[in-house]
Amino acid sequence: MSFASHPDDAIRLADVRKQFGDTAALAGVSLKAKPGSFVVLLGPSGCGKSTLLRVLAGLEQATSGTIELSGRDVSRLPPAQRGISMVFQSYALFPHLSVAENIVFGLKARGVPAADRAARLKDAAALVGLGHLLERRPSQLSGGQQQRVALARAIVAQAPICLMDEPLSNLDAKLRNEMRREIRALQQRLKLTMVYVTHDQAEAMSMADQVVLMRDGHVEQDASPAELYARPATRFAATFIGTPPMSLVRLTAGEGGAVLEGAPGHVLAPAQAAGQWLGVRPEEIVLSDAEGLPAGIAGAEFLGGETVLSCVIGTGTQVLQVRVPGLCALPVGTPVRLRLPQTLHLFDDATGRRIEDFPSNLASPFSSKDNATCR
């Protein structure tokens, strides 16, 4: 992604910083998003996602940097003039107002005529399936229904950009999956540019067109879900994405190239990769009887459709996780062999950055494309 100016960008942030006393909540964030795209701000708790969203909304003033929304510099504008709507984590419904009054609160405040208001209320309520609850108070609604009121209040504004801060975190797992699909469908139908905050990588991967992975106030990687999965830019990105995430092991120098401690015979990378980190996705490793990296089972976690095995490499201490379909109740200590995939990821020890273009077609331990099952 280049940062060349593009007049059609819905969102463009340039070196946005936010300081709270001594804490740099945002340490220079730059990003841009196309109109109608679903952007997810992803990262662990405390990395600055909410701060970034609030700076975008104008609820916090950035310490420095510029914010352009729909081609306008809004850095100094109050929230109401930024052309955004927002769904808060706690929904922020007005407890003394009915559902209908909550939804049209902003239209009334902006002086939209009553007839227009009624029509837009009807549309928005129908879109989120609230038509029959308009007279209730928020306290008389379930969590999922309150969430829908917050959604309706956001879409009735017809702002081109919609911001959401962990909107699903208060719902149970089943409802969460349902709402994920609904929000995504709504966003596409209304062609909204969405900025959606979550700490749940599965949510991010399933909803986003563009994932902005954050860490300690900066952008770690800004890419499509597919790119983020296939080519994590840093060790942090590698260990944040996937269930379970990518396993990282340290390469050491061995005969004929870089090897893993405890398995000297199996060269995994060229000699210059010694000292760096090797990343392997658990779902791409195959258990095998004869050939491959020698390992021993250190634990097995049955997840229903699959089992995640923790395997200690050779005589060493490093662990690779392996995801195999179905139930695979291998007892601890069982010797196995692991066939690694063609695509390995290599990360620099000092910087943590991905090392591009290293020849990974070295001989033995790589799996061919045969089927992978538990023995």
């Binding site: 109401a80 709507s85 927002m86 808060f88 706690s90 922020a92 003394h96 609160f105 405040a109």
Partner: protein, 302 residues
């Protein structure tokens, strides 16, 4: 078996009932002895004459009330008290709300400000009265110095002249009460999640609109509580008047309660004082009922 259980059950229930009465007894006895009985006795006495020497009290029907209706001082006192209530109630509530909004905002030295506003509440009313006696001192009191500095006015006898005395008493009451009510408003304001104001800001509501449509309705229950208390205080809070003016000059600051005190304990006409007390009780009951009916229905309880 079944019968035994039944008997045991009813015996158990009786014991529980007995326990309940025993537990209630101390509070009940105190309430009856010091609240319910005196209230009823007062109403009872108001229909009798005042016993004097060898002459015992006798039933005279509504004669005490008739005397009141013919008493010009009673009507003056009633008028004074209405002015006093109409002035102190809205002003103390309004000032309390304004101070709470101000202190709740992002200002420097918030804690010190809150303390400063709360001090009048901590002071006993007698101390407050003495403080204000100094403020109102003609010529070198605080008020006169300020009016001289600001407007070049001469000395004014604030609590000694008919025109200003009642206003001066109202000032003291407002000063005393506003800080107390502010604490309630402050607590209520802090219970409103800030995210509601953020949501309103995103929705394009101005600060005034947000105040009118979000903050004020959410303060509803607090306002009702404060209003009921303020109205009651509008008839009850007279300590400073007793200390500062004794109801004078020429009854200009006499209120229902000070008049009851005078009639009952200076002229020893206890029957008339009882009738006056019944009038005061009636007024308070009517006002409280009206407030709950008018405001209660429109108040949102969380």
């Amino acid at each position: 078996m079944a019968r035994a259980a039944g008997i045991g059950g009813s015996f158990g229930r009786e014991r529980t009932t007995l326990h309940a009465w025993l537990m209630l007894a101390p509070a009940m006895i105190l309430l009856v002895a010091f609240t319910h009985y005196p209230a009823l006795a007062t109403i009872w006495h108001s229909f009798f004459s005042t016993p004097k020497g060898a002459r015992p009290a006798r039933f005279i029907g509504a004669e005490n009330y008739a005397v009141l209706a013919d008493d010009p001082v009673f009507w003056l006192v009633l008028k004074n008290n209405l002015i006093y209530a109409l002035g102190t109630v809205p002003l103390s509530i309004g000032i309390a709300l304004a101070m709470a909004l101000w202190v709740n905002g992002r200002i420097r030295g918030k804690a010190a400000m809150r303390m400063a506003y709360f001090v009048p509440t901590v002071l006993p009313m007698i101390a407050v009265a003495n403080l204000w006696l100094f403020f109102y001192t003609p010529d070198y009191g605080l008020i006169d110095r300020m009016t001289r500095l600001l407007f070049g006015w001469g000395p004014t006898n604030w609590i000694g002249s008919q025109e200003t005395a009642l206003g001066a008493m109202m000032m003291v009451a407002i000063w005393k009460e506003a800080g107390f009510f502010m604490i309630f408003y402050l607590a209520a304001l802090q219970a409103i999640p800030p995210v509601l104001h953020e949501a309103a800001a995103v929705e394009g509501a101005s600060r005034f609109y947000t105040f009118r449509r979000v903050t004020l309705p959410l303060l509803g229950p607090t306002t009702l509580f404060i209003a009921v208390n303020a109205v009651i205080n509008g008839f009850r809070l007279v300590d400073h008047i007793i200390v500062m003016t004794h109801g004078g000059p020429d009854n200009a600051t006499a209120l229902l309660l000070t008049y009851i005190y005078d009639v009952g304990f200076r002229y020893w006409d206890t029957a008339l004082a009882s009738a006056l007390t019944v009038v005061l009780l009636l007024i308070l009951c009517l006002l409280a009922a009206a407030q709950f009916l008018l405001m209660g229905r429109r108040t949102h309880y969380r």
